[in-house]
Symmetry: C2
Subunit: 340 residues, 2 copies
DNA sequence: CTTGAATTGAGGTGCGCACGTCAATATGAC
DNA sequence: GTCATATTGACGTGCGCACCTCAATTCAAG
């Protein structure tokens, strides 16, 4: 049988009450008692039964995802994965909910975070671009002992908060490598399209992309980033203009997570099947585009994994445990038509 | 507050004892009672508290991994991941152990499986090639209510047992696509190396590979599979012989999970950096080979994920629950130097 | 209506731990 | 030595459920 707290008390030569005090960091314990209990823990290999702990504490976890208000297919995918996890974890005393707010309004985000009630929420997974205001708000959440996970965005400057997502420099570099190899040494220009270049993610991807291009593929000339600002009309216009001015386009890289609009706009002007096209994130649209060869490769981060990972991290932090790093690392996936 | 079994009894208009009988499939309950309890479950949204269940049952899970006796780096990686999970799950009443046996001896494997004591093991994750004898042994394990997961091997003919691993046809196809695209329409031959072509995995990978080659890359000529039989001397010999006979080799595909020996043997004869080289599985060796350009791409299935997935599935089956399919699907990962 | 079987309810116990109260001791300052 | 304070132990309760026993009730067949 596994040793219980009672066995531990016996082994440590103290009472159950003292064991309890040590295990739960309660006051009124001598250093000596702490030592002898910890020693006994090692000696007899005591492990608290998590089920009993959970039952006795009878505590539930409440976690909240904060998403952008606007988005397209990838955002929808994320929301579905959140719903899925919500359902799967309802039994385990874990309540998940989410809210969508205009994340580009840093002031609004900060205000929302400041207004979160610590009695209603144990952890927040935040998908919003970086800004000093948001950073401050996150720091204050942490001070109030509300755990924060930076979700698929903003991995700088806040080492106190966990981050779930990929290394965007590497993601951009991977895109660059794929485009470089897929174009087969044929000289040409590479069109780069982004929603905005304001965000850290975009900057890092672009940086990784350019680094690889410069180092390994001198035959290609990356063009300046086209910004669509998630505006259909504006995006189409600027893309058409660039396509009109530029001849000899060999490849396209869409570095934002919503590829549908940019790619549709480009496809309306030229034939994508002859170009090396790399986009981000798996959605119904990018899957279909992979299948009919408009897209050659998709760089993806599994949204289901990301959501589950964020939840596990918030749970671990709430329990004052370390998350299992290996499991929480999100892979930069490369999807071809063959490995969908 | 969450409804408890007591609330459920009240809502269903029955006693706690009857609720218990229904919830745990005990005998001596009328269909009417079953109906009214189930109805009440839906109505009030009752969910059993898993912590309380676990505590009351006070049952532990014992799962065993059965691995090949011989192997190289990938096998070592798997064993480490098993140890890791073992440590991480010790707290949750889950005991993991593993054994290594000569899996090519179908009779021996069957005998080992037959000898497993149902009182000591709740589930077995089996990494062994298919054979009628093994299939029978697995079927008998299942009859004795020991859950079986086919681990990274043999996904045919046994739909009663779960399978953890990738679609090997798709994995081979992915390798083919990569080699096809990386060779850039330069005609040439493709060397294909396997440990053995006896196993289902190898056959499926080769089949997927050939399919893509035929359909999409007529400029390449895949050679017959070279079998090393995991024998250093023999492997080197046969590889050297093929390299001597064949000129104009444009690419190499190593389809077994241990790439070190074949690749080292090939590298001793020709310069790999000029070829398109695709291998399977991430190991220290393949990582290093990616970094110094001897290998262009690695097709991988995350061993940590695979191990955790097998455990979750055995656990779910032991509890008579359905595993969460989405989470248990192992991805065919493509690794380049940039997304390691 | 009787009888036997099937069904139901009442109630108790324990799983391992958290958390609280109160009395008993130990420790230190003076 | 005395007193205040710090530490310790004994003990009880409850978390939500599983599992067991025994008596009470219902039901169907004859």
């Amino acid at each position: 049988m596994r040793p219980t707290a009672k066995d531990l008390a016996e082994a440590a030569g103290v009472s159950l009450a003292t064991v309890d005090r040590v295990l739960n960091d309660r006051p009124h314990v001598s250093k000596k008692a702490i030592r002898s209990v910890n020693e006994a823990i090692e000696r007899i290999g005591f492990i608290r039964n998590p089920a009993a702990v959970s039952l006795a504490r009878n505590k539930s976890y409440r976690f909240r995802f904060v998403f952008p208000k606007s988005g397209d297919l990838y955002l929808r995918e994320l929301l579905e994965r959140v719903e899925e996890s919500k359902g799967a974890l309802k039994g385990d005393l874990i309540d998940i909910d989410y809210i969508q707010i205009p994340v580009d309004d840093a002031h609004g985000v900060a205000k929302y975070l400041a207004g979160i009630d610590g009695h209603e929420v144990d952890g927040v997974a935040l998908m919003a671009p970086e800004s000093p205001q948001v950073r401050d708000a996150v720091a204050r959440l942490l001070e109030r002992n509300i755990k924060v996970v930076q979700f698929l965005s903003g991995q700088e400057k806040l080492p106190e908060a966990d981050f779930v997502g990929v290394d965007n420099f590497a993601a951009g570099a991977t895109a660059g490598k794929l485009i470089g190899r897929l174009t087969c040494r044929t000289p040409g220009k590479v069109m780069v399209v982004a929603e905005t270049m304001q965000s850290m993610d975009s900057i890092q991807r672009r940086h990784g992309f350019d680094t690889i291009m410069n180092e390994q593929f001198p035959h290609l000339t990356p063009l300046p980033s086209i910004e669509t600002h998630a505006d259909e009309r504006r995006g189409k216009e600027v893309i058409a203009r660039v396509l009109g001015n530029q001849a000899n386009i060999a490849a396209v890289y869409v570095l934002s997570s919503e590829a549908r609009m940019p790619l549709t706009a480009i496809g309306a002007n030229i034939d994508l099947t002859n170009l090396a096209v790399v986009v981000h994130e798996r959605t119904p649209f990018t899957e279909e585009a992979l299948r009919d060869d408009r897209v050659d490769a998709v760089i993806a981060q599994d949204p289901g994994h990301a959501v589950r990972s964020a939840i596990r991290i918030m749970r671990a932090r709430t329990d004052a445990r370390e998350p299992l790093a290996a499991q929480e690392r999100i892979r930069i996936e490369i999807l071809l038509r063959e490995n969908l």
